[in-house]
Amino acid sequence: MIEFNRADNKMVLKLVYYGPALSGKTTNLLQLHELLRREGRGDLMVLDTRDDRTIYFDLLPFFLTAPSGLRIKIKVYTVPGQVRHDATRKAVLQRADGVAFIADSQLSETGNNVASFENLERNLALVGLDIATIPLVIQFNKRDLPGVVSEADIERVWRPTGIPIHLAAALNGEGVLETFSALADRTYTQLDEKWGLAAEHGLAREDFLRQLVVPG
């Protein structure tokens, strides 16, 4: 969490879209910006790109208010996927509250997915986060392309980890809201345990999700 200011009654959360280069992290954010209602959703901020490749990060902010008056800002970031931007990834990953790992479903990208996931594990450890406890979802993107890894294989490999898997074709908007929703849901669980969102602030899980994930 970036900040929890009791005096201002404000909480700022950070969700991070992680994954290998060109797996569709920015596309996910573009679609979220497109698909979600305008109120409470900030503008998508794309920080420097070159040839449509993210150099720094993208940021899509959301804002909602709990019945208690607690103001909650949720900042959704993407990281640059290219190997050379590791320092940026570490900076963005700092104090994350939840991570969506966007994998590329194409068979040819399997190695990059594995390398990027290992990089995520290592960087989480470096910034003092525990991959076993941080809310994490995985999205297998680009299901619409030919030559993708089969669902059965995804199941077989990832099911044992217990991490929720979502299939998506972000370019068409498929699976984008589901992934975001699942990440928000997992994040809520942890925030509620720690800060008593429901008990202290009257913000039930459904309200949280309803305010955050409202198709426009």
């Binding site: 970036i2 900040e3 200011n5 404000k10 700022v12 950070k14 409470g40 959703r41 900030g42 503008d43 901020m45 920080l47 420097d48 720094y56 990060f57 940021l59 902010p61 959301f62 804002f63 103001r71 800002k73 900042k75 970031y77 320092a87 940026t88 570490k90 900076a91 963005v92 700092q94 104090r95 470096l126 910034v127 003092g128």
Partner: protein, 434 residues
């Protein structure tokens, strides 16, 4: 990389409107709005006016305002303030003016925030990369230093290892030799002891029997001889003289005890040999220093020339715990070393004394001594100053290793008067006399 926690600069720190917008951006807009027809234009946040035009002085009171339009200013989706245009009478353009001002300000907020974030992340990445470079540089330097040290020490280490190996090999060699000597001594001693036993016993019996023969002869001569005829008496005297019985009788009286003494000496030598090889002793048995030295000297008797004088003062030294054979070996090699240094006219003084918790055994000779630069080498395996074939250079190594086996050490120095002085320092461990 390890001090990630220390990075205070976080990307995406929360900001207020005042941090994102500046007077230079806001005031021209407010001024333009007033010029376009509003009577007052202002930007407010948290119920506080941040900027306004015209400035408050001289402006009409709030209750004179009859028309007002306000639109929110949005920072990351959150309404953080408003832009407000007021007029003292209804104005058609007021709504549109407010929309324009809000659009312009929101656009400025977005652009400024983006610039700030870019700066933040850039700074963050540069700082972090620099820290990592520094860390990598430190590691490289450390590893370079390690390699340099390794390279510098390699030769020394090789020498040390070689010396260690040589020492270990010499140790094995010596153990083998000791075991062989021990076995041989044990076998010989056993074989010699048996016949020696019955030789000694028989000699004693023979001495008794010969005494009886002599008694019988005397009895014949004095008691029976008088009864014989003069001719026969003369024949007996003749035969007596011819066989030199008087001489034989005297000589037998001397010969047999001499034989017995000789056999006893052989018996003592065997005992010394057994003692020297410590055939019967256990590894950690008490060892009497003076006894060990006497045994060693006895075994070496044949090597020691008649003109050599070996003085010893080892009285009242406590017993040591250890392998007695090793101590005897050390003594033998020290004595042999002195004999080789001074083949004629050797004067060797062996003395011992307490020194704190140690016993110092000094072997001081009147040889030519050992040159200063060689003193550190004489204990090394295979180091010798003698001609090829004259010694393998293990003698003093044996001394060194024996001292080490007792938990002590050996030093060499110049004796007063020019010879060499070897000192064995052996720790007293539960010795009998304290």
């Amino acid at each position: 990389m390890a001090n990630i926690e220390c990075i205070e600069f976080l990307v995406g720190t929360e900001r207020g409107l005042r941090e994102v917008l500046g007077a230079a951006e806001v005031e021209p807009l407010l001024r333009a709005a007033v010029a376009a027809g509003a009577d007052r234009a202002l930007v407010a946040a948290d119920g506080e006016t941040l900027w306004q035009w015209p400035e408050s002085r001289g402006f009409a009171q709030v209750d004179s305002v009859v028309a007002a339009e306000a639109l929110p200013l949005i920072l990351e989706g959150e309404p953080v303030g408003e832009v407000r245009l007021e007029a003292q009478e209804p104005r058609e353009a007021l709504r549109a003016l407010t929309q324009m001002a809000a659009a312009a300000l929101n656009s400025a907020i977005h652009a400024n925030l983006k610039r700030m974030l870019t700066t933040e992340i850039h700074t963050q990445v540069v700082n972090q990369s620099y820290e990592e470079l520094l860390a990598a540089n430190r590691e490289l330097r450390a590893s370079e230093a390690r390699y340099r040290e390794l390279a510098e020490n390699l030769e020394v280490r090789v020498r040390e290892r070689t010396a260690e190996l040589e020492r270990a090999w010499a140790c094995v060699l010596r153990r083998e030799k000791m075991a062989a000597v021990g076995q041989l001594a044990a076998g010989m001693a056993h074989e010699i002891n048996n016949p020696l036993g019955f030789i000694l016993s028989n000699l004693n019996t023979l001495q008794k029997y010969v005494g009886r023969y002599v008694d019988m002869l005397e009895f014949f001569q004095h008691r029976i001889g008088a009864c014989l005829s003069a001719d026969l008496q003369e024949a007996v005297r003749q035969k007596w003289r011819e066989l030199r019985i008087d001489f034989v009788t005297d000589d037998i009286a001397a010969l047999l005890p001499e034989c017995i003494v000789g056999a006893e000496r052989v018996k003592a030598i065997i005992a010394d040999l057994r003692g020297f090889a410590h055939i019967d002793a256990q590894e950690n048995a008490p060892v009497a220093i003076d006894q060990a030295l006497e045994r060693t000297l006895a075994v070496m008797a044949a090597e020691i020339p008649a003109d050599a004088r070996i003085a010893r003062q080892l009285a009242s030294l406590p017993e040591l715990l250890g392998n007695g054979a090793l101590l005897c070996q050390a003594f033998m090699n020290l004595i042999r070393n002195a004999l080789q240094a001074r083949p004629q006219g050797l004067e060797l003084e062996i003395s011992g004394e307490h020194q704190g918790t140690e016993i110092a055994l000094r072997f001081r000779d009147n040889g030519p001594g050992i040159a200063k630069e060689l003193r550190s080498k004489v204990f090394e395996p295979f180091f010798t100053t003698r001609e090829v074939g004259q010694g393998v250079g293990l003698g003093l190594t044996v001394v060194h290793d024996a001292a080490a086996a007792f938990g002590g050490r050996v030093e060499v120095r110049e004796a007063p008067g020019g010879g060499a002085e070897f000192v064995l320092f052996l720790p007293q461990r539960g010795g009998g006399h304290g």
